[in-house]
Assembly symmetry: C2
Homo-oligomer: 342 residues x 2
């Protein structure tokens, strides 16, 4: 069988974008063997500009240039300075956009414009970016439908914990009644440490920051915004709701005391930041979770339970973040597009 | 878009076969709406014979006849007595075989012959039957390949807990290094009760039998054969191994004492019947599982962890058995075949 060539344009070259490049590079031969899929990256963009070569970039070179200079524009011969995502999309030749710029939950830009432009140009799109999906889901889905292109976003929801594709493929035919999940690794790490070691919130957060688990500005994680974006995307895509971030009843974990955690423990419960889509309502809030239940997962793990009509409860546990893990979810989306466009 | 008609021949009309009929019936309109998939059952067979109608059977009638007489041969007008599976396949018009006859782990028959005949007749096949898959995986896979037909068996492994399709779709691009799971609901129920209530094995088994959770002849469950079949199928299909039931190092739970369970508990461990495919070896044996780990699931739940190269550990928890739940896995396989044969 002849190999199927798919040309990728990668917008964003931070941890996730670099993870995608590394995974594509290390899996190139294996993907040809297993799926007759020949992935070629024809453009990568970062804040400095882009590297664009219609014949395919050398991913080793791209990763090295980024590592050494911080700027893709320095890519020998094919580097272009001061060019934005939309211009890159105009100038490069590609079949599928991989949009992995940083999440912006204010207005979803520039991701949203990048995605819409690609769709209007009849390109398939894979993204890990929660912003536009949590703000304007309908707009994106409708654009994909009108342009008859494929749009995949597994990586936006649970890193490598499969949710969207699980529901679409493994639970095809099921109706999903409600969803409950621990969708943020940082808060789960902090709450797990507080339970296991009896520490207070502030020093535990600081420690998580020192370990690189919590970000310097942890606001979106600890106040529940990250989990809220994810539950919005899940409700829209798996349950057919029409909701945005504003619809989430939101409570973070910064007021949780060590005392509360220990009192719960005494009764056999853990406090977890749980996101829920149930009965038309979206909630992200600290909730009591029984020890020994699938939700009593430790550390940075994520977990989600889908309540279905035929399959009862199906629960998935996985690593919620990480460069390679997120890239793996993006890769599964790329393969899914390739398989279904034979 | 025009509906895509798929004609099904269902061999076997016990709990699973009836579950399939009920699910197809209740989901008929929804499947047309969501997937433009029009499922028509043209034949159903049980031990008494079959009901065959090329224009489609009335599933209400089939379920009623079975319920009232126990014999599909009594189906008005279209009932046929004393006909075996192979003859049914010859006489009925169908696109996809749904093979749900009882599992036979001695020689895999009559399932194996039914499946091979359907494949040689260029029909797609979905099955929940572990027997031939655990005994002669290669034969079946090769027959599917040579005849260029699709072969799906999600329901054979974890009931409604998605494993095969999860790995194939959501974890596409990953290599699976090893697999560990609690793959039998009956033994998990018995061991959970022994841990929670301090009871001995024999009375707990008896109670499970009274509740209909354990079978009258519990041998295949409690001695680990059921779990062994499943881990063989998983190793063959997800990891490319070439193994059969004989390759499993097998230990059941009938020698586990209440004392052992309680001692483990004291140290924060549970005893579970764990099936493992790791480092070229297949094992089913009682093992210690840490309380609070994803494997500490209670009752009849199943759980499986896939260790992957890109996505770290991915764990799924779900209901391992049940008529409608197993039918749901079969339905997802049917939909998968329909989607990929556009």
């Amino acid at each position: 069988m002849a190999n199927k060539k798919m040309r990728l344009c990668i917008l964003g070259f931070g941890a996730v974008g670099q993870g995608v490049a590394k995974v594509i590079q290390s899996k190139h031969e294996e993907l040809i063997e297993r799926y007759t899929l020949d992935l070629v990256v024809t453009a990568i963009a970062d804040r400095s500009g882009a590297a664009i070569n219609p014949d395919g970039l050398d991913l080793d070179v791209a990763l090295n240039v980024k590592d050494e200079t911080g700027k893709l524009a320095q890519y020998p011969e094919y580097g272009v300075a001061d060019i934005d995502g939309l211009e890159v999309l105009d100038r490069c030749e590609y079949d599928t956009l991989v949009e992995v710029t940083p999440t912006n939950i204010e207005d979803g830009e520039p991701t949203q414009s990048n995605i819409l432009k690609a769709m209007n140009d009849k390109k398939d799109v894979v993204t890990s970016n929660k912003g536009p999906l949590a703000l304007n889901f309908k707009t994106l889905i409708n654009a994909a439908r009108e342009n008859n292109v494929r749009f995949r976003f597994e990586a936006a929801v649970g890193g490598t914990m499969p949710v969207i594709n699980l529901a679409r493929e493994s639970l095809a035919g099921n109706k999903i009644h409600s969803v409950q999940g621990i969708l943020n690794g940082t808060t789960n790490y902090i709450l797990s440490r507080m339970a296991n070691e009896g520490t207070e919130y502030e020093p535990t957060l600081k420690e998580a920051q020192e370990l690189g688990i919590a970000e310097t500005n942890p606001y979106q994680d600890v106040e529940g915004l990250d989990a809220a974006c994810k539950i919005v995307i899940i409700a829209n895509s798996l349950m057919g709701w029409d909701v945005t971030l504003d619809d989430v009843d939101l409570h973070g974990i910064s007021n949780i005391s060590s005392n509360a955690v220990q009192l719960a423990l005494k009764d056999g419960y853990l406090i977890k930041l749980v996101a829920e889509a149930n009965d038309g309502k979206l909630t992200v809030a600290p909730m009591l979770v029984k020890e020994g239940s699938p939700f009593a997962v430790n550390g940075t793990l994520n977990v989600i339970t889908l309540k279905t009509d035929l399959s009862d409860d199906v629960t998935v546990v996985g690593v919620g973040a990480g460069s390679i893990e997120t890239a793996s979810a993006i890769l599964s989306d790329i393969i899914s597009i390739a398989k279904h466009t034979n």
